[in-house]
Amino acid sequence: MSRWPFRRILLALVALWLVTSIYIVPADQQAVETRFGKVVGPRVMPGIHLSLPWPIDRVTRLKVQQLQRLVVGGDLSDGVLGRTQPLVSQFLTGDQNIIHMRVVVQYWVGVPADYLFQAQDVAKAVGAAVEAELARRISRRGVDAILTTEKAAIQEEVREAAQKRINEYRSGVLISTVNIEAVTPPPEAADAFRDVASARADAARIVNEAEGYAGDVIPKARGQAQQALEAAAAYKQRKINEALGDAARFTQVAAEYERASAVNGRRLYIETMEQILPRIKKLIVDKSGNLDLTIIRKGSEPRNPQ
């Protein structure tokens, strides 16, 4: 009779023990199941699962979708604090310039079993692989290319090559992005680099100004040319019309003249004389007398001494 509570306790304990064989993997996780240390379930998907009870089977859950970050060329806090660590961030370029870089790597778990069991320090392995590939890419490019056009290409090449490398290490990691967060010339030469940028801007500016000048001068010239052409056409038309008018008038008058040329000739002559003679000084001399030319001077003296 006294054995009853003991047995019940024992049964309860056994039941409790058996319950440890049921486990749940949450939706954002995957799990690895090991039996006596050996992997029997390398990738257990979310849900309720059954295993052998503890400690025969053990379950390790991993947040596989959670991106993990690491920084090459500084710390995670550098970006936030705006800090640089010269020695950590210096890279040597192909044209033997020194530049500073900070690269952020994001990765997640690709193969849970490998991630858990194949490398002692996965972050360190990923960081080393990325850094090696980055240094290699930098060491074969010129500083201008790195600072301007090649950034995206470097990121992609490094991601690809580093992924290949960590696959060799079987660290079970998928690199999501390799992002060059900062790439700057060394502070010791920064102003010279800035001057190059402003030189480029200066060049663009004076070219723009010249284009502005051309845009101003050429249309104006075209306008002037058009103006000259129009004026010439007008001149031509005017000359011809005037000539036609003059000629028509002349021809008509000439026809009348021909009809009585003596009278008309005289009339024209006298009319002209009437117009001319009132304006001018006249000395009338007799045909027979000798001409004393001094009268010309006397006549003109009072009005116009010469």
Binding site: F91, Q120, Y169, E188, E209, A210, A228, A243
Partner: protein, 295 residues
């Protein structure tokens, strides 16, 4: 009597448990186990799971995972006598626990050995390559990959044979110049930038001048072409009017001569002109002689 029997059973159960504890052992995926008997290695277990040994044998656990070892950055001299600071890493793991325990024992000691192999390997490699073999903008000159692949192979062979270590990778993490060389590099970089800046400005100037000169040329061309055409047009007008006049005048040359001469008199004679008229001039004949002056 009853109590004693229970004691025996309990003792037996404990004994069995202890025996099982000593006989069974688990090997994790991250481990190798070297089973030793009185200190002497007898067996290496590389499979994870539950294993058996004799109770008098001992299980020695080794971390079989990949490790990353970062030797301190070291300065090397290239064939063309240039200094280069190289920071490398070695990816390695224990491959043969028996050899490993016999020769190096622990990770720190292993890394010291690896350091020596890698350092001398790099020094030898650098000694046979120019700096351009490591750092260059012309990819065909760069030998770094080949050097490192060779170094990885050589290190792996040496480490495996001697220490039971597998070397998966030897890579250069960072290339840099020694501190004392950096100032001159910065000076060179500055000079280079200044040259580039000057070049940009000069090229801008060049282009601007070209654009302005082209604009001026176009302007002159447009204006001169217009002048040419305009003068030609004017000439046509002049020619045409001349033709019209001559056509009209040549039909009545006498009248033209009269009219034109009288016309010119009006212009020639002004109030400064003095005319001496003879009394028997055509105009005055009548005045002097009366009716008889009329012919």
């Amino acid at each position: 009597m009853k109590l004693t029997e229970t004691h025996y059973r309990a003792a037996a159960a404990v004994g069995v448990l202890v025996f099982l504890w000593l006989t069974f052992f688990t090997v994790k995926e991250t481990e190798f186990v070297l089973v030793t008997q009185f200190g002497k290695p007898v067996r290496t277990i590389t499979d994870a799971g539950l294993h058996l040994k004799w109770f008098f044998q001992t299980a020695n656990y080794f971390d079989r995972r990949l490790r990353i070892y970062n030797p301190r950055p070291s300065e090397f001299l290239s064939r063309d006598k240039k200094n280069l600071v190289i920071e490398s890493y070695v990816a390695w793991k224990i491959q043969d626990p028996k050899r490993f325990i016999e020769t190096v024992g622990d990770a720190a000691a292993a890394e010291m050995r690896l350091h020596d192999i890698v350092w001398s390997g790099l020094a030898a490699a650098l000694g046979t390559h120019d700096l351009e073999g490591m750092v260059s903008t012309s990819p065909e000159k760069i030998q770094a990959q080949q050097v490192l692949d060779d170094l990885t192979g050589a290190t792996d062979r040496a480490a495996l044979a001697q220490y039971g270590i597998q070397v998966i990778d030897v890579r250069i993490k960072r290339l840099n110049l020694p501190e004392q060389n950096k100032q001159s590099v910065y000076a060179r970089m500055r000079a280079e930038r200044e040259r580039i800046a000057r070049q940009y400005r000069a090229e801008g100037e060049e282009q601007a001048l070209r654009i302005r000169a082209d604009a001026d040329r176009q302007k002159e061309e447009i204006l001169s072409v217009a002048y040419k055409t305009a003068e030609k047009t004017k000439g046509e007008g002049d020619a045409e009017s001349t033709r019209i006049y001559s056509q009209a005048y040549s039909r009545n040359p006498r009248f033209y001569k009269l009219v034109r001469t009288l016309e010119s008199y009006k212009k020639i004679f002004d109030d400064k002109t003095t005319v001496i008229l003879s009394s028997d001039s055509e105009l005055l004949k009548i005045m002097m002689r009366g009716e008889s002056g009329v012919q």
